[in-house]
Symmetry: D2
Subunit: 459 residues, 4 copies
């Protein structure tokens, strides 16, 4: 390299895609805005675990290498959405303007999500778009899509789509995103509103998107309690896809607290009698979770953390109230009644006041980076070491945060260059080579052809 | 064993001494009452970590083997003190009556503590006896002591005692306790009221007692933030005594919480800006800590936990208010202001309402058992693995509770019979043999007497 | 009086009856125990407004003049029930023993309540007896009743009772209580568990008891949100009975707070956006309110206070969770989001930790005394001035506590001897005369004949 | 009026001055910004009691008639200061720009405050300017002042000023403000940082300004706990000035709550045992109150409210912590331990999270308007009916908020045109006339001299 008289044009740094289901929601908008802001040095990476020293040499794709796109059923453009969030105090004033170009670029990569036949609520609803924004039925969605300039899958319009049609449409959108942006890889992250627990045989929307991720050869992260890849009908596909995946349900506030307080009580042999909680939140998330079925899906994870860390589920309920005037700010009150020595009755109460989007967004960026790198290192299947991030982690890992953090550091070690696995260079500085190798094959073929990429994965 | 035609009289189960400095205080009274109650099956061992499965085979002395005694400057007999605690809701009604015999037995083993010359407050004040109970000066204490039937050191009365005189008097009390009760070992635990940070050259009372523990060949546990063995003048003695010791300042409430919440913030890369706290408590502890000097000693530990777990000390103060009407019940409010992603400002508040004595007592029993067993296994010096129990642990161990718990389990493994060290059997079932076998090895006892026991220490 | 050479035997001080619906519940037991304890000077009258100076000369019946009885469907005798409450920390230890005689006397005056035909839950369930204690159906209850030695209405057994039969049975029990105890008057107070809002035409149990009170010529107080006298079918009877009555739903904790905080926000022109609340409680009340229909009845009152004091109902829900391990202790968390100047967003949170029975019992005694005295002074109809005590007061009085207190003082003034009305002496010292006048007529006739007593009332 | 053929030029609407001590502090800046915003219809008058219906016909000067000026020792111009507050979330983004003209106009009317000889901290420090902004000593302040174009009192520069010199300088500034703006009257409101309780004979800065207000013929409002007009040396002047005045120490958060909760406990005969509080706040106010002497001044008022409303001062302390990272946002935690019936122990906790400036500013506007109108109606001396606004009200009015509100409404009635007093029309529509008509009636000026200003005021 040093001796060459004429330096060749350096290969462009590899770029990686982050495809967000619910791409115009609060979480997605905050993640996209924040990624640009931190990459530009406008803000410190507070809340991003992957920017701490422990992850410095893990070969994670730099924030500046991330390209965003996704599905959503609402139309509000990202720059406008970001302005709304700034008005609500979620984003700093002035930041949407400062990163307007990046928001606009991401917005251009958002494709309409469409409800499958017979679905009562459609897929891809924005994190806080609300059901009202999803009036379009199948035909309507199809017609919108067929007119969309950049939308693949237009050919499917005009007829009633099967589930597989929808999966193919979504997968085509993702492949198109990867190809046009010449990406070295992409991850699909579900940050849409929680959907009710599925009933009946039809795949819920979240699972259609998850299947599309597999078909497009992309790792998949489910940041919500929705079914996603967790649906029985997708079990085999998830098993054989040779792709890493992670989930479910990002652990951002009340459950995060529970995952450190539960172990404390157990380690101190204090007997928790009842653990009750109330969550107040507005925004679209509050409205979505006012649906008892969605709340039930959410609460399952919360209660599992207690049962796992305490050894048994204590008494107590969890309420999620929609309080529109709180906007994106959430207050969670927990009341823990426990017994001490000789039956003395004691109480711990916690009040957590945070902005859910601001808590979730850095974790979404963390997960995207970690999963992209895991894919590059050939790691496949459920990423059990990511339990740190989830209320209801895949696999049977620990429920206590401290042990989950230790697991995360173990994964970090595996992601280092010298840790074995496919000998590709770091995401950060050698993605070009990766792309070179894969160049002739275009984007990975979802149905079997993604040899180069796939082979990496399957090792 | 099975073939012997004439079974020898089985050796009596070994008994172990727990010598409490502040033996008539709330913590001591609760520990003595609770030990009897749990040993008798009247209450489950809630709050006792050493009764969980992880410690089942560590050879710890059973609760029924513990014999209590100690120093105090107040006169209120333990049965009466226990009734007061029951009236205040600290102990269950009826329990003092149920274990009256055990309380009376322990009370008979309490010897008067005496203030050293020139001390403004004397040593051995009960955890909540208050300064008012300590009017006795040196001569007074001496005269009381010289009349006490079971009190060693009566010979010292009538003259001005030096520091060394006091140490000798206290050590003689302990040796006498061990000898008369035919104990296989004893541990000295400081549960007296917090004393102001020492100024000037004289040893504070807590250090006189700590020195007496060493001189009597006993492990030492400092459950308070007082100087104890931590005094520079005792450094060499602690080093060369060949005895295990542990401290300082039991972690029972607010700091316990901080030791799990601090790591949570750090692991999630959330920037804690300010951590403020207010403690309300009555009882003698509230009164003692209303003394700013004592409070300063206490708060040092609290703040150290934050600095250690967060990486830097945040803004914020800690208040300790004496609120007599709260009695032994404590309320601790913590307010944590932290930054999330993109500078979003969030708040966590915690309110901990507990009974300090009920929180402390099971830890005192844990520490006594662990330290007695460590002594038996020949472990010497600071027990770094006991950081789980302390605000300001000896050594340089971790400050996060989860890591401290892992350390504790490591210690538990070392305490097992098959873990090496002196191959004595468990405390629980063979203490008598231990003493027999170890007789000939006795370390030179500083005061000449209990050679048997001494041999244990030196291994 | 002063001139008579031979003093006649002074007339025995008048005694007054307090007939409790749910007489073996926590509230009733606490009221009966506490009345005896305060009358005997064992405890100060904390929480009893009628024992403050403002009520000193209102002629209220002294606590020592009150005689208790009532209906209940559970069998646990009052002394035993009181012991349970002492074990749960609701009553001081030792107090049930100290007032055992009074508890026993009251227990002997308790008559079985019986479910009306077709009712799914019977009337007269104890405040915390739970539905499980009410297995007896109509016939069963009848047969039990027909065997009860002291029970009137035995004649009704063996046939299907009409609503009117039940009312007559209950009224007969009350008349019998008054007659046998030679009472100068009696008041009926409903402290039974909340019943679901009535549906269909049948009178709910609480209304049967209320009708019985009228028929027996007694004032009626509804301390619960149940229908009671508020049922449309009883409107005319309540109007024409010539008896004072008061209700509904004692204001003991969260709503009490709301009735002072709501006016504060309004007076300061601060815009409350959302007021959310969660109540955790155990005991039978928690279980009863876990029934959504009962909770709905309860929450109506809570929300009305906000709407009335704020001018409009804010956003926000109220949850009532049954947390059995909390026993009779209740925790209520309120979260108030309000706007300040220029739209600044502010939050008030309150946490109320109290014992509901201990909060309610002194109010029950207050209400019994005030209503008995009002009856004596000839006041009839709804006692609007008692809004101070209720979540959902009869009449259209103010909702702000301060104004309600002013109203209460107005009533106090009307109750004084010199305030006009029937010129009977105070309840406290001249009841004998009252009884003398009524002597020949026996107890008031429920069906029109209660001339003397009735005439007093109607004046 | 309607019949006149030629309408005369309508008199210009009267304008009224609000002279703020600490005019560049957070409270002043918020008040000035908010007055302009509400007057322009940009925001509703949330938090302004005088804009509620009860005050509609009281003849208060409209917000649009208020002209602002004042003293301060810091230089940061109001528009810049407002931008800082917007960045800190105290003011809405964009609002400083929207009312830039009004801020600039007010800023031009701010004159430098100057420390009197020997004072360690100068007068007129901004509410949150901090001590660091007040480096200028007497000469420095003088030289600045002598260069100030619009500053009266320049003649005093260059020599050591006596207290009276300073008073005269300040009074001249106020008179000049009134004259140049052709104001129908002006009120002086102290919103500067709390100063330590005065020691020694010299008048504290706040009292110099108060004396200047009297000398300039202006009503005076002390929104802080500083001495102001409350200094013994000013008692006679206050008495004879013939001017209304009000104070001390605006009741904005924790004490506001206490003034409704205290009465609740008392009215319910619940025995408060201990009331403890901790305040966390940043901004300059936090720093100022970190000075124990200033905090002591502040806490006096807080505790007085409890003693007055409960009947006796309970146990418990109040802490005020400077937590710079909280900025202008304040959190106040209160913990109330109280006894219920039969000694049951209960707890109420409150957490108040507010922005002090936003809470104070509308009250400042209220007070300015009420006091200006009271002056117009000829009301003199302490305005006892304004206790609603203060922690430590002048006079011996009630301490309960509800009664204070009733008093305020009484004052409102007195302010109406038909309520007697000088029969001038409303401030709002005929101020010009008022001045003309009232000219000949001028009150005797206490100091004799400042005829120009006095005549204006007196008209």
């Amino acid at each position: 390299m040093s001796a060459e008289p004429f330096l060749p044009t350096p290969p462009p740094a590899a770029r990686f895609g982050v495809w967000l289901i619910g791409a115009r929601g609060s979480v997605a908008t905050t993640a996209i805005t924040g990624c640009a802001a931190v990459a530009a040095g406008l803000h410190p990476p507070t809340g991003m675990v992957t920017e701490t020293a422990d992850f410095a040499d893990c070969g994670l794709p730099p924030l500046s290498s991330l390209v965003f796109g996704g599905h959503d059923t609402v139309d509000c453009p990202l720059p406008k959405r970001a302005e709304h969030l700034a008005a609500g105090g979620v984003l700093p004033h002035g930041l949407p303007t400062a990163v307007h170009a990046e928001l606009l670029a991401a917005d251009r990569e958002i494709r309409p999500g469409g409800p499958p036949p017979g679905a009562t609520t459609g897929p891809g609803s924005a994190g806080d778009g609300g059901a009202g924004a999803e009036g379009a039925g199948v035909e309507g969605a199809g017609s919108v899509r067929s007119q969309g300039a950049g939308s693949a899958g237009a050919e499917a319009a005009g007829s009633v789509r099967t589930q597989d049609d929808w999966i193919e449409v979504f997968a085509a959108d993702i492949r198109d995103f990867v190809r046009r942006n010449d990406l070295a890889g992409a991850v699909v992250v579900n940050v849409a509103s929680t959907e009710p627990a599925p009933a009946g045989g039809a795949l819920p929307a979240s699972s259609l998107y998850a299947a599309a991720a597999l078909r497009a050869g992309c790792p998949y992260v489910n940041f919500t309690p929705s079914a996603g890849l967790h649906h029985p009908a997708l079990a085999e596909a998830a098993e054989t896809a040779g792709l890493p995946h992670a989930g479910r349900d990002g652990k951002t506030g009340q459950t995060l607290l529970r995952s450190v307080l539960g172990p404390m009580f157990r380690q101190r042999a204090l007997a928790v009698r009842a653990w009750s909680g109330t969550n107040l939140l507005g925004g679209g998330d509050g409205a979505a979770l006012a649906d008892p079925a969605a709340a039930a899906a959410k609460n399952g994870g919360k209660e599992r953390v207690l049962a796992d860390t305490l050894g048994a589920a204590p008494e107590g309920e969890v309420h999620i109230d929609d309080v529109p005037s709180l906007g994106d700010w959430k207050t969670a009150w927990d009341h823990v009644a426990f017994d001490g020595f000789l039956g003395s009755r004691m109480i711990l109460q916690t009040v957590w006041q945070g902005c859910d989007s601001a808590l979730a967004a850095p974790l979404v960026l963390d997960l995207a980076r970690l999963t992209l790198r895991a894919r590059q290192k050939g790691i496949t299947g459920p990423l059990r070491e990511l339990g740190f991030y989830f209320k209801d982690p895949v696999g049977d890992g620990p429920a206590a945060l401290a042990e989950q953090y230790a697991d995360l550091l173990t994964l970090a070690a595996r992601l280092r260059d010298d840790a074995g696995g496919p000998d590709g260079p770091d995401c950060g500085d050698g993605g070009g080579e990766v792309r070179d190798r894969r160049g002739p094959h275009g984007r990975p073929d979802p149905q079997g052809g993604h040899d180069q990429h796939g082979s990496e994965v399957r090792r």
